[in-house]
């Protein structure tokens, strides 16, 4: 392992970045339930209370609407709160503050006030947490002007995108995923600031484009590699920023490959994949050789029992089948 490149988990990348930003700017503070004494329900904030004290790492009562709104007010006065909501599911009780307040203030108040804040939470199913604790509703937030929505898929992205989010002057929804916290990856040392609003071609290819984000990227890359072995060149696009959405990068890829499949953990109807598919249909129509297919979760409240949960969630087998079907639909041969 070189000095500049370390292999760490997604969790550690987040923890180190929070630490670095707390050191970098005294206006940055963390606020949320159980992030201090308990060190975070998923231990993302481990050690930070001890090192930065209760002023910079604020434990709150179970009052999401109250403390998310309080973070908004603090941001209006120039502080830069980084809010942790334990999981996306619990952001619903605070969503009025996020969407009707944080997202609207800058425009509605004549650009006099900024709301520089980050709201972090993990989404996703697969942990047998049942229907109310397993949701992916990031598409809700991605729909809202005034918000920026980031969804890193690797430890390196977690670091550079969280840094960018904290330094951005707008409210940023920072989507993590329970299944990514222990995923390891190479992370460059030193300050890394991602550019918000850009998708990235993670794996170049020429025959078919798979578009995904967050946890879905792990499966997307795995399946792409497998097809590579079979001589099919799959390009993989990581959306990274759900809002703003980088339509050009998506369409450019499909104009090259002429085939596209969207892979997402969320449910199909009105999901992220719908916008991606509509965007491709509009921006790469003349290049497209087959319908854009979406691989997404079954539309049920996610069940607790493992066999049901597995059946309802999209996996590599599903993606592989749909990629193959899309190739077959265009009589692809290599």
């Amino acid at each position: 392992m070189s000095e500049e490149l370390r292999v760490i988990t997604y969790r550690q990348a987040l923890n180190e970045t929070l630490r670095a930003e707390l050191e970098h700017d005294e206006n940055v503070f963390l606020i949320g339930e159980e992030i201090g004494i308990f060190e975070g329900s998923y231990k993302i904030t481990a050690g930070l209370l001890e090192d930065f004290g209760p002023k910079r790492v604020v434990d709150t009562p179970i009052s999401e609407e109250g403390f998310v709104g309080a973070a908004i007010g603090a941001a209006m006065l120039g502080l830069r709160p980084v809010v942790e909501i334990m999981t996306l599911n619990f952001s619903l009780v605070a969503i009025d503050q996020i969407v009707n307040h944080a997202a609207k203030m800058h425009a509605m108040f004549g650009q006099q006030v900024k709301v520089p804040m980050v709201i972090r939470f993990p989404g996703g199913g697969g942990q047998q947490l049942a229907a109310t604790h397993s949701q992916n509703l990031e598409v809700w937030y991605a729909h809202i002007p005034g918000l920026k929505v980031l969804a890193p898929s690797t430890p390196a992205e977690a670091k550079s995108m969280l840094t960018a989010a904290i330094r951005d002057d707008d409210p940023v929804i920072f989507l993590e995923n329970l299944a990514l916290y222990n995923v390891k990856g190479e992370v460059p040392d030193g300050e890394q600031v991602a550019e918000i609003g850009r998708a990235a071609v993670i794996k170049p290819g020429s025959d078919l484009t798979v578009v995904s984000y967050s946890r879905g990227m792990v499966t997307a890359l795995k399946v792409a590699e497998e097809f590579e072995q079979k001589g099919v060149s799959v390009e993989v696009v990581d959306l990274r920023s759900l809002r703003p959405l980088d339509r050009e990068t998506i369409c450019e890829s499909v104009r090259k490959t002429s085939r596209a499949v969207v892979f997402e953990d969320d449910m199909l109807s009105y999901g992220i994949g719908a916008e991606v598919s509509a965007t491709i249909g509009e921006g790469a129509f003349d290049w497209l050789d087959a319908p854009v297919r979406r691989v997404a979760a079954s539309e049920v409240p996610l069940p607790y029992a493992k066999p049901l949960e597995l059946a309802a969630m999209p996996d590599a087998v599903d993606l592989t089948r749909v990629v193959q079907e899309t190739l077959d639909a265009t009589r692809f041969t290599n």
Binding site: V68, A74, E195, S241
Partner: protein, 352 residues
């Protein structure tokens, strides 16, 4: 209102010029709101429009208690507060007209007056929505400064009906728990739209609701600007120096409908008559004259001045330009980033 702090007649501590300025403020707010009502009828103003008619003493008393360094959060019923916090009546009227010269450039309208320099941090249209951010502003003050006489403080207004929403509970608990420099002010105008306080709150003595957070509550006659100012000053001092949040209930009376389009047919004649007979503006005028603070002539002059100011405000609003459509996307984000969707309806999402 047995336990309401009522005052009558001039008290030793009252300075005449102060009392005079209070009446000037009340007269101006009254004139402004009556004109706003008229301009709405003439379709110069759109959307919802909630007036402070009947709440002039409250508006004047509260804003008089605030220091320039304090922060004010209000409800959508905010015209009077905007003006008394120092915003130009002409800019407030221009906002109502939706003009580029409005306090927020025509983006917010009646419910969303805002002025960063005046530390009027906004009128809010979602019931209870202002309470958590106001509480957070107090958290920021605590984060950055020590308690003491020079400390900043926050005043957060809310209506009687708003004490029943979750945000009120969560916010007061945070303020009590963290010891935040904030004063929550319930403007009890006896109605939330058509619902009475008894019809909405299981504990209708609203100032007592601080009990669930160990926050002291106080009820004051909202028709008396001096009593309001004194109570608010005392609470703000506790907030500044002891970091003790406070809860004030001001007993007031909504003179007209919930908003300008509400005929308030659900109100009994007695009710409306009582409201009229309680009208704080003529009452305070009479009081100052009885107490020899003003002569009839002084009072008339003040009313005329208010009228002139409002007439000028309307003229200014009329003559002001509309906001420019080609700046529609300027304010969506404070930090510009790549790929922000900035298309007018019907424009392609992707240009291939």
């Amino acid at each position: 209102m047995a336990d309401t702090k009522r005052r009558t007649g001039k008290q030793p501590g009252d300075k005449p010029e102060e009392l005079r300025s209070f009446y000037e403020g009340m007269s101006l707010v009254r004139a402004f709101e009556l004109r706003a009502n008229e301009m709405y009828a003439r379709a110069k103003i759109g959307g919802y429009c909630h007036l402070n008619l009947g709440e002039e003493a409250t508006v004047v008393g509260l804003t008089a208690a605030l220091e320039g360094r304090d922060y004010l959060y209000t409800t959508y019923r905010d015209h009077g507060y905007a003006i008394m916090r120092g915003m130009e009546p002409s800019a407030v009227m221009a906002e109502l007209f939706g003009k580029a010269t409005g306090v927020v450039g025509g983006w917010g309208g009646s419910m969303h007056m805002f002025d960063l320099d005046k530390r009027m941090l906004g009128g809010y249209g979602i019931v209870g929505g202002q309470i958590p951010p106001a509480t957070g502003a107090a958290l920021a003050i605590r984060y950055r400064s020590e308690p003491g006489p020079d400390s900043e403080a926050v005043m957060c207004l809310l209506g009687d009906g708003t004490t029943n929403i979750g945000a009120f509970h969560e916010s007061l608990n945070l303020a009590g728990l963290w010891g935040l420099p904030i004063v929550y002010v319930i403007v009890n105008n006896r109605l939330g739209m058509g619902t009475t306080v008894e019809g909405a709150s299981a504990e209708p003595d609203l100032y007592k609701r601080g009990c669930a957070y160990r926050i002291e509550g106080d009820r004051v006659d909202g028709d008396d600007p001096v009593a309001v100012r004194d109570a608010a000053s005392a609470a703000l001092t506790r907030a500044r120096q002891e970091r003790k949040p406070g809860l004030l209930e001001l007993m007031s009376y909504r003179l007209k409908g919930h908003s300008v389009v509400d005929p308030a047919r659900y109100r009994s004649k007695e009710d409306t008559d009582e409201a009229k007979s309680n009208d704080p503006v003529p009452a305070f005028r009479a009081r100052l004259i009885t107490d020899g603070v003003l002569t009839e002539a002084d009072a008339d002059a003040i009313d005329e001045q208010a009228d002139t100011t409002v007439t000028e405000a309307v003229a200014f609003a009329e003559d002001s330009p509309d906001p420019e459509v080609d700046r529609l996307f300027d304010g969506v984000y404070a930090s510009q980033v790549a790929n922000v969707p900035s298309r007018l309806p019907g424009q392609p999402a992707v240009v291939s």
